[in-house]
């Protein structure tokens, strides 16, 4: 029983991180119909920013987690730069396929650029550990990081949902994702909306980075690739473009991974994650909470 609860909690914690990343994926995909492969690498950017800023914040007498504000700003800037320098020119000229390949290339650029920066380099780094206290309830030990991760991701999801439903910019985002041409005709500045979406998505990646390094205190330049792929799988599983879907997908993926790790073998977790994805896509091609939109001729 204790093993069961422990695996459930690990799964939820892992799932919350995936959910945070998946929210950013889903927003960007919803608006420009592009798998932003570089999104995972925004986490890497956020992680390294935290690595450098947490000690600074501590020295200033502030709690360590305040460094996340700087990380959000840095990530948002990187996100906007990627959109401006690579995606926008390609979107003007090419097709969906070329945009996707550009995204993959961009992910490589970020990873290798990070390696080329002398202060970062290819070797793994160990960041300062935050929220390391552990609480034991009835034989199950839970770290503070777990609580904070789950609560933060739920809050972020709710906040984001309200943002897209109630605010002006949020409404503009939904319009652009539904019909770009019509949005232009309604006087929405499409390019500005897209760039704001990138900034928000990348900022969320920085928050996810904080949560991730609180659990797994290890940074390396390619950490974003696998994380990003899992998060994307989560977004697709939940139904891409849907914020609650991203949350649900993230949790499902986290729990599956943790279940395979606990009960089968850690080397098989990839197989099960993708198997579930494939099964869901076979049954419901638009994901669990996604809407199925027919193709117009």
């Amino acid at each position: 029983m204790i093993t069961f609860i422990q695996f459930l909690i690990t799964g939820l914690r892992l799932g919350s991180v995936y959910a945070l990343i998946a929210l950013g994926y889903t927003m960007v995909y919803g608006i420009i119909k592009l798998i932003n492969f570089a999104h995972g690498d925004f986490i890497m950017v956020g992680g390294y920013t935290l690595y450098f800023t947490i000690p600074v914040m501590m020295r200033l007498g502030l709690p360590g987690w305040t460094a996340v504000i700087l990380a959000v700003i840095v990530c948002a800037c990187v996100g906007m730069l990627v959109e401006l320098l690579a995606y926008r020119p390609v979107r003007k000229k090419g097709t969906n396929l070329t945009a996707l390949i550009t995204a993959i290339a961009m992910s490589f650029v970020l990873e290798n650029l990070a390696q080329a920066i002398p202060a970062i380099g290819p070797d793994p780094r160990v960041p300062y550990t935050l929220f390391s206290k552990t609480v034991t309830i009835g034989g199950v030990s839970i770290s503070t990081a777990t609580f904070i991760t789950i609560i933060v991701s739920a809050l972020v999801m709710i906040g984001l949902y309200l943002f897209t439903q109630k605010t002006r910019i949020g409404r503009a985002m939904r319009c652009v994702s539904e019909d770009k041409q019509a949005a232009v005709l309604m006087g929405i500045n499409v390019n500005r909306t897209i760039i704001i979406t990138f900034a928000i998505g990348a900022g969320l990646a920085a928050v996810a980075a904080l949560m991730y390094i609180a659990q797994y205190p290890k940074l390396y330049t390619t950490m974003g690739a696998t994380l990003g792929i899992y998060a994307f799988v989560a977004a697709v599983l939940g139904g891409i473009g849907s914020l609650p879907g991203a949350m649900l997908g993230g949790m499902v993926i986290g729990i599956i991974q943790s279940a395979t790790n606990t009960y089968i073998s850690s080397s098989m977790s990839d197989t099960f994650v993708y198997l579930i994805l494939i099964i869901v896509l076979m049954i419901k091609p638009a994901g669990i909470l996604g809407k199925n939109v027919g193709e117009k001729v």
Binding site: Y29, T102, A105, S267, Y274, P285
Partner: protein
């Protein structure tokens, strides 16, 4: 008239290929030590990269579907070929790596590798190809990872090959693994495999099936409205392409004495991974087989010379720093190519040996056109 031209083209290409074969046989018979240590291993690597790039081009360029797990099929081919040849060796069909029996075993393992990969392509393709675009990319990536993951967990693929060793990512005893001497001796096998595969792929692309899959690429709905069974042709092309990926895998296991599944992952540091093959196809031209051949050789040479070449050392310091991260160079190059030529450098055009004498005239014509265009533009500017 037209038929006559086609016959001539075939004749010229046939002669060129025969010459290529003859040269490779000559080299393998007479080459010295430098050739054995430097050129021949490079040729082998080029062989499987060419087949790999061309086979992905069938799916990406001609069918218009992005597959990010192509190296999974290659892994299947590599492990199949290695295990089959190992089994034959254990059964005592061949002792040393020479003689007619050995060559037969090698050819059989090539074909088996291709067939198994094709069957797997069929199994993967039937569910996967119901999805389109980004979803297909992700799901093929997933299948690629599953394949690699399963190979990692199959007991007889690990450690000592057929003995039931612990699961491991490496297959140490590889029956096919050629030493440098054998690579040299059997270079004609690699070249022959490339020639055969490329010929079959060319014939496929130029046949009525090729026309059909290009129609699907250009407009799926229109194609299906014209009575084309879209899903059948998609799955067929996918399996067909997986066959060649399998053969490429078999070639790969020939030139490596040990196999490790990490070489077939989605991304890794080396030249062989699913993403790098996509880069090759895109740079060469989506929809141009000759472009893929050129891109595969070109990228290989670039990669090879960046790692071992003298010209990098001759560059100024900061440029050298960039070239220590070759993936950075490739990905920036990829973005630039896509920005200016969204369909790749060659686009969808092929080049033929027969047309080479006409090139000067064509280039002249092209420049004349450009000049006329710019003149017109200037005139328009003046008029405004």
């Amino acid at each position: 008239m037209r038929q006559d031209k086609t016959a001539k083209r075939y004749l010229i290409n046939g002669i060129a290929l025969a010459l290529l074969m003859a040269v490779s046989v000559c080299i393998s018979l007479t080459g010295g030590n430098t050739i054995k240590l430097k050129v021949v291993p490079a040729v082998w690597q080029c062989c499987y990269l060419i087949i790999m790039a061309a086979s992905l081009n069938l799916v990406l360029g001609f069918l218009g579907q992005l597959s990010l797990g192509h190296c999974g099929f290659m892994a299947v081919g590599a492990y199949t070929a290695a295990l089959i040849s190992l089994a034959f060796q254990r059964a005592g069909i061949y002792e040393a790596k020479s003689g007619a029996a050995f060559i037969l075993v090698v050819i059989a393992s090539f074909i088996a590798a291709g067939l198994l990969a094709a069957i797997l392509g069929l199994i993967v393709g039937i569910p996967a190809l119901r999805l389109k675009g980004d979803y297909l990319a992700i799901i093929t990536l997933g299948f690629g990872m599953i394949i690699v993951n399963l190979i990692n967990n199959i007991p007889f693929c690990g450690q000592q090959g057929l003995s039931q060793g612990a699961a491991s990512s490496a297959l140490y005893a590889n029956g096919l693994g050629f030493s440098n001497d054998e690579k040299m001796k059997y270079m004609w096998l690699g070249i022959l495999a490339v020639i055969l595969c490329m010929t079959v792929m060319f014939m496929f692309v130029r046949s009525k099936y090729g026309r059909i899959i290009r129609a699907i690429r250009d407009n799926e709905i229109a194609a299906s409205a014209s009575g084309i069974n879209v899903s059948f042709y998609k799955v067929m092309t996918f399996a067909f392409s997986a066959f060649f990926a399998g053969v490429a895998g078999a070639l790969y296991s020939c030139c490596n004495s040990a196999l490790a599944t990490t070489s077939f992952a989605f991304t890794n540091g080396s030249i062989l991974n699913s993403v790098f093959i996509v880069v090759m196809v895109v740079i060469g031209g989506m929809g141009s087989l000759t472009g893929s051949v050129v891109a595969a050789i070109g990228m290989f040479l670039l990669n090879y010379t960046i790692k071992n070449g003298a010209w990098v050392n001759a560059l100024p310091g900061f440029l050298q720093g960039i070239f220590t991260y070759p993936m950075l160079v490739y990905s920036v190059a990829l973005i630039i190519v896509i920005m200016f030529r969204p369909r790749g450098i060659m686009g969808t055009s092929e080049f033929a040996l027969y047309d080479i004498p006409k090139w000067p005239a064509r280039i002249k014509k092209h420049f004349a056109k450009e000049a006329a265009k710019s003149e017109k533009r200037e005139e328009a500017a003046v008029n405004e």
